[in-house]
Symmetry: C2
Subunit: 255 residues, 2 copies
């Protein structure tokens, strides 16, 4: 039996320490191929490149692991890996490890999770990993251990159809992590403002700043798990239909 084929992708770019940690986490679980953006793509959401061509180049960044950089977004990397680089469907797609949280509503803006979602749309079991430390020199020791454990669970047990995982890891030493909790996405949000300044030519510019606010006190949320030292695992779907809202609209709308 051939070894599982594992596609590694991220949104911080192929040179980020987080993707190196993820390669280390999964390299003993199968044949690993890296296809990652050639520059950081944070906040790209599920962007794809339609109106211009993409480039892919082989790079030699990881010992014994085939690696490519792509000029596109995280979702582009998955699409082009599938069509032009891999010669069979991967058994697993792992994305990350992101420098910074993708818990709660952050999933909406996350390039890390968009890559995993793109893989899920292709029927590939997929997971995004994020460490709650946005710094470039973050300590990925515990995250690497946990990513390996979770990737192995997916390879061994599969995932429900049309479901991917959003995994966030608290910024703690391995021995301080309490365990793993399967959760729902907390109903939290960003309260944002734009810093307003003037450029050297006297024109205004605006820079996004924000504060993450969680009003969701549920004990079954990812935010609660993380605050208590657990790794949060949120199963995620790409059906965005608010099924419960269909009868409401059918009742109240008049044409």
């Amino acid at each position: 039996m051939s070894k599982p084929l594992i596609l590694v992708v991220n949104d911080d770019g192929v040179t980020a320490p987080g993707i190196r940690a993820l390669v280390n986490a999964v390299k003993d679980l199968g044949e690993v191929v890296v296809v990652a953006p050639d520059s950081p793509q944070s906040g790209m959401g599920h962007a794809i490149t339609i109106n211009k061509p993409l480039r892919i180049d082989e790079v030699h960044l990881f010992d014994g692991v085939k690696s490519y950089q792509c000029s596109g977004t995280p979702a582009d990397c998955v699409k082009i890996a599938k069509d032009k680089i891999l010669h069979r469907k991967p058994d697993l797609c792992v994305s990350g490890i992101n420098h910074g949280s993708n818990s709660s509503i952050n999933i909406i803006y996350s390039g890390t999770m968009s890559a995993a979602m793109e893989a899920c749309l292709e029927g590939i079991p997929a997971v995004g990993f994020s460490l709650l430390d946005y710094k470039l020199d973050a300590d990925f020791t515990a995250a690497t251990v946990l990513a390996k454990v979770i990737a192995k669970q997916i390879l061994d047990n599969g995932l429900p159809k049309a479901t991917l995982l959003n995994v966030n890891i608290p910024n703690l030493k391995t021995e301080a992590i309490k365990g793993v909790r399967v959760c729902r996405q907390a109903v939290a949000k960003w309260e944002e403002e734009y810093m307003e300044r003037q450029d050297p030519f006297g024109r205004n510019y605006y820079w996004l700043t924000g504060k993450f606010v969680n009003h969701d006190k549920g004990e079954d949320t990812d935010e609660c798990a993380l605050a208590n030292g657990f790794v949060s695992v949120v199963p995620v779907q790409y059906d965005l239909t608010a099924h419960h809202a269909i009868p409401f609209i059918n009742e109240v709308w008049k044409f």
Copy 2:
């Protein structure tokens, strides 16, 4: 009582004919303000701009309607409108009218829908409109009529909490449209390939091509409504949790 405040945004850019049609659709329903990207942003998904500043400039493109162009993405336009341009919370955010479909899985990649979702996250009733004709000179006559009817329904009746609408309009004359159907998102997908060519310097480049394939035969889907000449209205949520998958994972995973 003051008139409702209506924010108009899109992803095809402030000069697109589709946003002009949408301004015409809603201008009699309240006080309208346009904040739209200064260039086309199709396929941007829920991208936001974090690592560089934004610019906003007033433009004079619509008679009697305050209008601004922004250097960011559709989601950026909503954020900056709220913080820097509008002086009260809008009563409605309308996005589009997109040149081309955002039905089914296309919502994931859609800048039009990301703007509406960003407004929904801010507690603003929101809807994205798309016409099933991607051409720049598409005929927006029927779409304008339908957008007005639906915007008025939302202003009159509201929407369920944390729910926005994804409205797609078939490319038909007004009198040929059969009606409006509230639907679920069809489980359809893109089968994609990259066209591979060489640039003048002999380097390969890759351009995304694809075919939309719908294997979902449900009569309650947006694809079915559109194929039968109906406007599709899909209520959409930003909780991506696959709630049904939580017990599965709790049962089968071993640590």
